[in-house]
Symmetry: C2
Subunit: 392 residues, 2 copies
């Protein structure tokens, strides 16, 4: 059972303060290194992003914007309006632009959907990404559906359906794969669920981690984006931060019935993309970029699977099944999540995420992201070392 020494306890208290100030989210790596300069953070495994995709984006940015001096135009001038960028996205994902709204990160669209469409009552599965309940206004009652620990927090469709029928909400939210556990609902199961929820006003499907999920051995891309054509109540929300490794640029979009898109655009969201966001979405629409992206996506998935496999061999932790780029681990040797993340950060320079603030998790949980192969190895070594030191 990991314990902190006196010096570590002092730093851990400061860390806890920073965490407290960030509410139900984690303080950014900037905030941490700025506020606690004595820490030497080497790996940010709190951060859910494909670093190889960041490399790829930066390669293009350097070649096309920095070396050519075109970066100036991107930063100086107004980017295009929402509908113009929606058109590029539409070409990339084969959806009409009328069904797409672009967001300043998916979070802006989560907010827009929560504030404008959800209605009187929404069912949200827990544990989950906290913004889904925090952004609900006083006009919407949030009813929680508890994912069951004994089912590894995966969604059991029939139990869920009977819960929803009983609660009778206007809307439901499904994150697939779910955050913080990475549980994935296969496409056909999702379709079965939608067939049984046709009477709902909205089914919000957050696919922010879908590029890391797969159903075949070739790791082909999957998505529920097109389902709004069959099920008019489906709203798919998609962040580009994780799969493309560009959280700092703030890119996201949502696909939904065109009446909903026009309702949102009628009095807002006109210029919510930055110049770099527009540049990214233009890249996303180019075959040369996308083909290279597919390479780094598949490489990253394979390495993440190896990482989860290695983690699962460590006896002091339980690793939950994930088809995302992170895994939920439970500390089963009596270590608290707070001591785990503090020791990992202070002694090994590895930033992991405590889940102590996540409602719906009963136990001591940490979420760890897969990073580069070398960083993953360093995470594994550090955890093993930490538990080994502990047993001395």
């Amino acid at each position: 059972m990991i314990k902190l020494n006196k010096e570590e306890l002092t730093l851990a208290a400061k860390l806890a303060q920073l965490k407290e100030a960030s509410g139900t989210h984690s303080p950014s790596i900037f905030t941490i290194t700025e506020q606690l300069p004595e820490l030497n953070v080497k790996v940010d495994a709190c951060f859910l992003s494909n670093p190889y995709a960041t490399d790829l984006f930066l390669e293009y940015l350097k070649k096309e914007l920095i070396d050519t001096n075109k970066l100036r135009d991107v930063l100086e001038f107004y980017p295009s309006q929402n509908e113009v960028i929606a058109e590029f996205i539409g070409k990339s994902i084969h959806i009409n632009k009328e069904n797409i709204i672009v967001g300043n990160g998916a979070i802006e669209l989560i907010q827009a959907v929560m504030h404008r469409f959800l209605g009187d009552k929404v069912v949200i599965n827990i544990p989950t990404f906290s913004s889904y309940y925090e952004f609900a206004t006083e006009d919407t009652e949030v009813v929680y559906y508890q994912l069951k620990k004994e089912e590894n927090y995966e969604l059991m469709v029939d139990d869920y359906l009977s819960f929803v029928k009983k609660v009778n909400p206007d809307s439901v939210v499904i994150i697939n794969p779910n955050n913080p556990n990475g549980g994935y609902m296969p496409y056909e199961k999702l379709r079965y669920l939608l067939n049984n929820l046709k009477e709902l006003k909205n089914i919000v499907i957050d696919e922010s981690f879908i590029h890391f999920a797969f159903e075949d051995s070739n790791l082909a891309l999957i998505s529920a984006t097109e389902l709004f054509k069959e099920y008019a109540n489906v709203i798919v929300i998609k962040s580009m931060s994780k799969d493309f490794g560009i959280a700092g640029i703030r890119c996201g979009y949502a696909v939904m019935d065109k009446l909903k898109v026009s309702q949102l655009l009628r009095n807002g969201y006109l210029w919510n993309s930055s110049g770099l966001s527009e540049y990214f979405f233009r890249l996303y629409n180019r075959a040369d970029f996308f083909n290279k992206y597919e390479g780094v996506r598949k490489r990253y998935i394979k390495e993440a699977l190896e990482f989860f496999e290695e983690l699962s061999k460590i006896p002091q932790i339980k690793v939950y099944p994930s088809k995302a780029n992170f895994t939920l681990i439970e500390l089963i040797d009596g270590t608290t999540s707070s001591d785990f993340i503090s020791k990992m950060l202070i002694k090994y320079g590895i930033y992991t995420r405590t889940c102590s603030d996540k409602i719906g998790l009963n136990g001591e949980f940490i979420r760890i992201a897969s990073r580069t192969k070398e960083e993953n190895q360093s995470i594994i070594n550090s955890i093993k070392q930490m538990f080994a030191d502990d047993s001395k």
Copy 2:
């Protein structure tokens, strides 16, 4: 009176289509050059931004982010939360962070304020920036106050006050300096107005162009930001796009009563800054950057004043008084605004803004931005040449 030849008419029709697709805004320079590659656009005088400030920002960006390779961190990682960035801004403008909300451009905060606080009825002065009436939802009635042509579209306080008393709105919006004419209301006049509007729920003051206004010969910075301390109904909205020349980064903030800030942050606006926006606001808080900025701000104001002076000597146009970085001109020789902007763009490569879509302007109006000294000279020469060719 400017007329187009056959070839120019064809291009002008395509331009009109692009304008049509952009609603009450102008198509971006990217859209124009992409859709009409036959045009050779040399000067974007539609665009209201200090190019010397862009130079300054790019100088810092190159030195601190590109050359050091720190740009990666800015693009890869999540930026800080709203309150963290509000704290930097607060230090820069000497306001408590509790009274500040950061926006993805001022436009996001215009939307937030319009949707959340305005109440049943709002008075908006016309001509104005169209988002102020377009973003009003169906729950808010917009009542227009017509700025008078015979007063050069400047706001006459007593007439305005008696109008407001009669209409009895919940809120009013004042853009100072106003867009599209640049009319400026001096600080003491504004204070007189606020003293007489204490019963209103909200007085929205948009200061997006305030850095170009001045009341003394030293061109010292002025602002109404602190007035919310005396008048709790004041909400100041501030874009950074124009004065700092970084429209592509999307930076803005608003200052208001802390209860209103916390109401907005309670269920939204958590991560609405990009990495570059955070970098900018950190720079804004640094004396070395700010001192250099003051230099380029004053230089730009002086050159703009010279530019307006030169424009006012052209007999075919009337130049309206402006304390912003643009001026409204009226075509008084029978030329239509559409022919003017088409000829300027097609023949001279200078993009100016027609005001034919602006409600509250009766006549043929163009808005022209001040750019670099050289570009301004090129605008002057082109307009003179155009009218000279016409009279041959």
